[in-house]
Structure formats: structure tokens, C-alpha cells
């Protein structure tokens, strides 16, 4: 699944940042801010009614992403 489908509180692990269908720069940026394979990630908050923006805990920090950005990140359930 991709990160935009996450439910609040679900424990997830980043599998990879997809190169498609996302904007060319995003791969590098998302990697720079910490979305790297194996990193634990969790959805903490959403905007009103579950809409944009989404707040994630990634590693030791919190980052707000839009749904389109989160859709570039392939994740697995934390076993």
C-alpha cells in the first residue's frame, strides 16, 4: 500500500519512495527529509474530515505531507 492510505495510529514501515507517478524532484526531497526504506512511519493527524494535510511521524520527526506526496511512498505494515 501507499502512505496516503494509512489510518491514524497504524504502525508502518517505509518500503521505498516511488519514482513514478510523482514529480521528479520529490524522490530526492522525500529521501532527504527521512523517508528511507526501513524507517518506521505513522499517521498522527489529518486535516478536517480526514482531508489534507496529513501529519506523519517519520523516524524521530514529524512531517506534514499532502495526500499526493504521501502517495509516492510505498509502505508495509509493521509486523
Amino acid at each position: 500500500m501507499t502512505l496516503d492510505q494509512a489510518r491514524i495510529g497504524q504502525k508502518l514501515i517505509v518500503r521505498e519512495v516511488l519514482a513514478n507517478p510523482c514529480q521528479p524532484d520529490w524522490h530526492g526531497w522525500l529521501t532527504d527529509i527521512g523517508f528511507v526504506p526501513g524507517e518506521p512511519v505513522e499517521l498522527l493527524h489529518t486535516g478536517v474530515m480526514g482531508k489534507d494535510p496529513l501529519l506523519f511521524r517519520i523516524g524521530h520527526s514529524k512531517f506534514a505531507l499532502r495526500r499526493a506526496e504521501a502517495a509516492c511512498i510505498e509502505v508495509d505494515l509493521y509486523a
Binding site: 530526492g28 527529509i33 518506521p40 498522527l44 523516524g59 499526493a68
Partner: protein, 632 residues
């Protein structure tokens, strides 16, 4: 070596050390610790990214220049700020020397991200000293870090620091006295070694190196920040969050307008006293007029803004330092998104209620160029405090102090309405611009919400001082020069001896005003208003003083009070309404245009701003005038 045709920059003087780190890693606090108040704030060549340089002396007496580079997550730049950092580190930034050494500041509570950056900087061949910052917090949260082991793995010196209380500063300074630290870094002390890395599957990536370091140090799991999580549960709550934000904004507003009243009136009284003194000493004539109506009026115009700007910056700094600001942007992202802006446009727009100039200066934090330009364009629609004296005059003259539904005052309601119209129009314009610049690009958010910090008094004071100094230097000089220039316009040529009309009528401004009166006749402005609009170009509140002059009153506070009955009698209500509508858009503030030019590096944006605001002001005034004529 030099590329043919490229300018060669020669850099002499002390060696240059650059501070690099992720945003929110405590880099600026470290910079303040290292350099104290010996800082110079300027811009990088050709871009409007703030450049902070300071000086320090090592224990051995070596002089060193320290550059505080903008925080960055990596060497793939996302914003003009990060672009600067990348270029300086590569030695390709115009007019900047390539640093001789980099102090890479790592947040000990978030090593993974910092290590990637440190490895990348080592890789481009710069000598690196690692400052492992917030080591105390990491320890408290149960992340003990073996500093010597980390140094061995990275093969660069690592020094544990706590920037906020100065721990580790001596060790960091001493390390700068070690000559071998200024050499190119040795290979990484890792089993994966220094193989060439790509992002191809199977290749050795940066992440694998970082992972090896973290595994070796025994750091892996996520360590949450329980207090921040508990605060966020309220601050980002779908109902409580926006409510809290509204209360905070309301309180800032109150503080800015109520808190500044007394110091502003003190400043005005002081300027008035000096003016009185000058009038006693220097005989009536052009010199007295230049000093009092030109120079002093200009200085007063700048200083009168200072209390409001100080209070506003104070709160903005607290919100920034504490970590609340990105939360506000998070909460507002959706609302701003409807108008085609991001949550980051919020701070500049908030600042613009005091004055559009600091607001426009604050747009630097917006990484998307298109968002930034739209924010600059709509900033003047936020009712700045300079318009209040004009509103106060017009509302007192034309709006009856009637109470509505027993508890609301019609005058207050009209004032509130004028603010609201400005905000609503800003959203409409932003929305229109979004659809006109129809690239339909998806804009990135990717915004970090850092852990909460208690703001530190020293850094608040330093930040406040720096921002105010920049405001006075950049804006103050513009306002001062314009005031003097407009004084020349309104004073020359002088009135003939047998003049029957106020002197300003005979001046250049007077002639200009008569010509303008033709343009403004369809929206109900008489020649007196048209003339007063000209000094109002320097700063909007000067329009009140100018009106007093035109109606041959003294241009001080008493004059303004005497003005109310005069304009109530002389102008039609429709004209009053028209002028109120005009000032919602009020395109004629030159300081704002100058700030827009400075921040965008060209005349394009200020030209668009002038034309569209003028057109809107004219249209709104015309509508208000017609409605006024019909009703009254």
C-alpha cells in the same frame, strides 16, 4: 584556476567556517553562542536569502569568520534558501568564498537525517567538524550516543554540544585550533567503505552507510517526544486547534493595536516637542519647513511604526521559536489551499496587518516562487495600521455613532467590515491568480513540525534587535527620502505674496492634484483629496496631515480633530464612502512597492501590484460613490 569569461572573486582575510545543519537542529543557537552579537545580517548576492556572518576568536587567538548557512535537509535544494547552502558548499555561489571548513550540526535526537547530510558534505571534499547538538536531550530520552565511536566511524572530529546553555563550546573552539582538522577528510571508517554510491537498486546508498553507523552505535528505534505529542493532541485537534489559533491571533491583534498606543503617542509627542523647539529657534521659512515638515515628519513616520512592529515581531518570534508557527500553517493549509496558497503564506499576511513591508519581507520562508509572488501581491490588501488614522477620520465624519442591536457600534462595525472586505478581496485575487497562472502544478508541502521548545530570552532579544534594525535601515531610509522628496513637491514653487489659497495649491503637488482631480472626479474626489493623496504616497497616514494643510489647519493632532466637522460639512457622504473604499485597496504606498521590488529583484511585480490595486481601488470607489449618491 578560472573559467574564461567568469568573474574571479578574490577573498582575503581570516579563514571561513560555515555552519550547516538540518532545520530545527539548533544551528542558529550555536551560531549565536559562537559569535555573540558580532553578527552582520545581509543578503546573498542576487537572491533574497538572509545571510548571517559573524566572527570568533579561537583559544589560540586565531580570527575566524563564521557563516550561518540556511538550514537544509540535503544537497538536493528545494527552496532558494537550500539552493544557497548547496551553492556555497560547492563553491559556486556568486561572490561567496568556498568555506575552508564546515561545522556540521547534528541533532542528536534525530541522527539519521543529520548523518546523511554530514556524509554528503564530507563527500564533496570539505573538511568537517561535527557538532553533536542537543546531546543532553538525547541522553534524557534514553539515546546515549558514543561520541568517540561516532568520530571513528565518520573519521572526523565529533564534539557534543548543548547550544542553549553553552556546553561544549570551548571544545568546539579548541578543535578549530587543530591544523589537521582543516585538511580534507579521511575515508569513512565503515565496512561499506567509500564505494561510489547511486540510488540504483543493489548499489550502496547513503542510507546503507547511515544504517551501518546507527547499527554500530546501537541506535535504531523511534524515540517519540511525549510532551510534544500531548501538546499536539490539543493544538492540532480538528475543533480545539482552530479555536486556539483564533484566540492566539485575536490576542496578538489586541496587543499590537492596544499595546502600541501609548508608546506611539509618546513618540509622536516627542517629535512634536522637537518640532516646537525647531520652530522657536529657526525663523519661519523654507529651512524650518524642510526640517519640520520634511525631515522630522519622515523620522516621525518611521518611528511611529516601531512600537507596533516591535510587538508584532515579538509575538512572531515567540511563535517561531516555540514551534507553533508550522502548526498554524498546518491548520490553515486547507483554507489557504482553496485560494491557491499554502499555509506558509499565513505569517506574511498576518504581519501585513501592521505594515505590508515586513509582511513582504517575511515571504522569504515560502519556497514556491509562484506562491511567494502571489502572497507579495495580496499583502497590501491586509489593512495596515497606517490606514487606521484615515479610517478614523472618515468614519468619525461620515458614519453616525449609532448602536446596533444594543451592543454593537455602527462605527466599529464599519471598521471591521473594511478589514473583512480587504481579506475577502485578497482571497478572490489569489484564487484568480491561481487560475490565471494555470500550470496547475501540484505544490509541495513537506513541512516539518519540530518538537516544542520554550523560547529563550536571549535569542528573542537578539532576533528582535536584528529584525528591527533591518526594518529601520531598509524601510526607514525609503520613507525618510520620500517624505523629503514629497515635501519638495508640496513646497515649491512657493505661493505668491498675495495668495488667497493655501500654499500647497501653488506647488507642484498642487498642480498635480488639480490634474488628478480630473481623473478622480468620476469617483467623487475633489481637488483637496486629490492633492492629499500625493503626500499619502510616502505613508498612508500622512494623508490626514496633508488634508489639514490643504484646509489651512495646523497638521498636528488638534488639526486632525478640527478636520472632522469640516469634511463632514464640505464633502458629500458619497465622497466619504468612496474614499473609504479607496483606502481598502490604497495602492499608493511607495514603501510597499519598493519592498516588493527589493524582494522580487525586478520592477515586474511592483508594476503589476500598482496597476491592479489602482484599478481595484478605482472600481470599488466608483461603486461606493454611485451607491452613496443613490442612498443619500
Amino acid at each position: 584556476m578560472s573559467t574564461p569569461g567568469k568573474k574571479i572573486d578574490l577573498f582575503l582575510g581570516p579563514p571561513l567556517v560555515a555552519l550547516v545543519g538540518n532545520p530545527n537542529c539548533g544551528k542558529t543557537a550555536l551560531f549565536n553562542r559562537l559569535t555573540g552579537s558580532r553578527q552582520k545580517v545581509a543578503n546573498y548576492a542576487g537572491v533574497t536569502v538572509e545571510r548571517k556572518e559573524g566572527r570568533l576568536q579561537t583559544p589560540a587567538g586565531k580570527q575566524i569568520r563564521v557563516l550561518d548557512l540556511p538550514g537544509t535537509y540535503g544537497l538536493t535544494p528545494r527552496s532558494p534558501d537550500e539552493q544557497v547552502t548547496t551553492e556555497v558548499l560547492h563553491g559556486t555561489a556568486a561572490g561567496e568564498k568556498r568555506p575552508d571548513l564546515v561545522i556540521c550540526v547534528l541533532d542528536a535526537t534525530n541522527l539519521r537525517r543529520g548523518l546523511r547530510l554530514a556524509i554528503n558534505i564530507r563527500e564533496i571534499g570539505l573538511p568537517v567538524v561535527v557538532a553533536l547538538n542537543m546531546a543532553d536531550i538525547a541522553h534524557k530520552r534514553g539515546i546515549p550516543i558514543d561520541v568517540d565511536r561516532l568520530a571513528a566511524l565518520l573519521n572526523v572530529p565529533v564534539i557534543a554540544t548543548v547550544a542553549i546553555d553553552g556546553k561544549g563550546m570551548d571544545a568546539l573552539l579548541e578543535s578549530l585550533d587543530t591544523p589537521e582538522y582543516w585538511q580534507h577528510p579521511l575515508p569513512l571508517g565503515l565496512s561499506l567503505g567509500n564505494a561510489t554510491r547511486t540510488n540504483e537498486p543493489g548499489a550502496i546508498s547513503d542510507q546503507m552507510l547511515v544504517q551501518e553507523i546507527l547499527d554500530d552505535l546501537g541506535i535504531d528505534n523511534a524515540y517519540p517526544h511525549p510532551l510534544t505529542d500531548r501538546i499536539d493532541a490539543v493544538v492540532l485537534h480538528p475543533v480545539a486547534g482552530p479555536l486556539l489559533l483564533t484566540v492566539i491571533l485575536f490576542m496578538i491583534f489586541q496587543a499590537v493595536f492596544v499595546g502600541a498606543e501609548w508608546p506611539t503617542s509618546m513618540i509622536e509627542a516627542g517629535i512634536g516637542a522637537i518640532a516646537g523647539g525647531i520652530q522657536q529657534i529657526i525663523p519661519v521659512g523654507w529651512l524650518q519647513s524642510l526640517l519640520v515638515d520634511g525631515l522630522l515628519a519622515g523620522i516621525g513616520g518611521v518611528l511611529a511604526f516601531l512600537p507596533q512592529i516591535l510587538i508584532l515581531y515579538f509575538f512572531i518570534l515567540i511563535l517561531e521559536e516555540s514551534g507553533y508557527m508550522p502548526r498554524a500553517a498546518f491548520l490553515l493549509d486547507r483554507m489557504m489551499g482553496r485560494a491557491g496558497l499554502s499555509g506558509r503564506s499565513f505569517i506574511p499576511l498576518l504581519s501585513s496587518f501592521a505594515c505590508a513591508v515586513p509582511g513582504i519581507m517575511a515571504t522569504r520562508s515560502i519556497s514556491n516562487t509562484r506562491d511567494r509572488i502571489i502572497t507579495i501581491l495580496i499583502a497590501p490588501l491586509m489593512t495596515c495600521s497606517a490606514r487606521l488614522p484615515v479610517y478614523a477620520l472618515l468614519i468619525a465624519a461620515f458614519i453616525p455613532a449609532r448602536s446596533i442591536m444594543g451592543f454593537m457600534n455602527l462605527q466599529g462595525l464599519v471598521l471591521f467590515g473594511l478589514y473583512l472586505i480587504g481579506i475577502a478581496m485578497a482571497f478572490v485575487i489569489a484564487w484568480l491568480l491561481k487560475h490565471l497562472t494555470a500550470h496547475r502544478q501540484t505544490r509541495t508541502l513537506m513541512m516539518e513540525l519540530p518538537a516544542y521548545h520554550l523560547p529563550r530570552v536571549q535569542s528573542l532579544a537578539l532576533g528582535l534587535w536584528q529584525r528591527v534594525a533591518v526594518f529601520v535601515r531598509r524601510v526607514g531610509t525609503i520613507i525618510l527620502m520620500l517624505t523629503v522628496a514629497l515635501w519638495v513637491l508640496s513646497s515649491f514653487p512657493t505661493a505668491p505674496m498675495d495668495a488667497t489659497e493655501p500654499a500647497i495649491r501653488y506647488s507642484l503637488a498642487g498642480h498635480l492634484g488639480e490634474w488628478l482631480a480630473l481623473v478622480f472626479a468620476p469617483i467623487g474626489f475633489n481637488w483637496q483629496i486629490s492633492i492629499a493623496l500625493i503626500p499619502g504616497m510616502a505613508a498612508r497616514e500622512m494623508m490626514v496631515g496633508a488634508l489639514s494643510t490643504v484646509y489651512a489647519l495646523s497638521s498636528d493632532t488638534e488639526g486632525a480633530q478640527l478636520l472632522v466637522p469640516i469634511i463632514a460639512k464640505e464633502w458629500s457622504t458619497a465622497t466619504g464612502m468612496s474614499l473609504l473604499a479607496w483606502f481598502i485597496f490604497a495602492p499608493q504606498c511607495i514603501s510597499t512597492l519598493a519592498a516588493a521590488r527589493r524582494e522580487t529583484g525586478g520592477w515586474g511585480v511592483p508594476a503589476v501590484m500598482l496597476v491592479y490595486l489602482f484599478a481595484l481601488a478605482y472600481l470599488a470607489s466608483w461603486i461606493a460613490y454611485r451607491i452613496g449618491l443613490y442612498l443619500f
